[in-house]
Symmetry: C2
Subunit: 90 residues, 2 copies
DNA sequence: TTAATATATAGACAAATATCTATTGATTGT
DNA sequence: ACAATCAATAGATATTTGTCTATATATTAA
């Protein structure tokens, strides 16, 4: 839960999510979209993975990252709940 | 946008939001729910305010904090959009 | 006007985070 | 088996963040 929000707190990681929404990608594919090093990207991917936002699958030399869609549904409901708000009394 | 996610990255600030969902509160009211100092709370409130998540209104000596409900609707849609995901192809 | 209360701000400090370089581990192709 | 490529890890460093104490500002009450 805390992992989730921390993971989303970084703009680069949110961009990774946007990229993975379009298609699954390897680390080197993703790297082309960022100015930092492969080690840094690996670190960001690790954080997304610990938050359960992404999954990995090896394909030969490559590790293919994809969104963890089942968790995405949970995430959507977490946010909806956080921001659900009845303008009662006031 | 970045302010929003950064604001939500801290568990104490998320708790402040939950408290304000129940009722509007002054700083000293809120302070009773946390172990840290008034200065620290003020800092968290400032971050929530910069993220446009809360509003303030003075009532005598007190500053009453409340959720910025109009922005909350935007926030909900931001999250829905971020996590909207059609399991196309795959 | 002075004292008390409520909140914000300034400045210091420690912990967490993002980044880098260098290296390691895993897989493939020759 | 060896070299090349892809990704993860280790360790160092700089920046950001959360917290504190001390102080300033605003309002109310006496």
């Amino acid at each position: 839960m805390d992992n989730l929000f921390k993971a989303l707190a970084d703009a680069n990681r949110r961009k990774i999510i946007q990229l993975l929404k379009k298609k699954d990608m390897s680390v080197s594919d993703l790297l082309e979209h960022f100015p930092f090093t492969q080690a840094s990207l690996s670190h960001h991917l690790d954080i997304l993975k610990r938050a359960d936002l992404v999954m990995t699958e090896r394909q030969g030399q490559f590790i293919i990252y994809s969104l963890n869609t089942s968790v995405f549904e949970d995430v959507a409901s977490i946010f909806l709940n956080l921001f659900k708000y009845d303008k009662r009394d006031k």
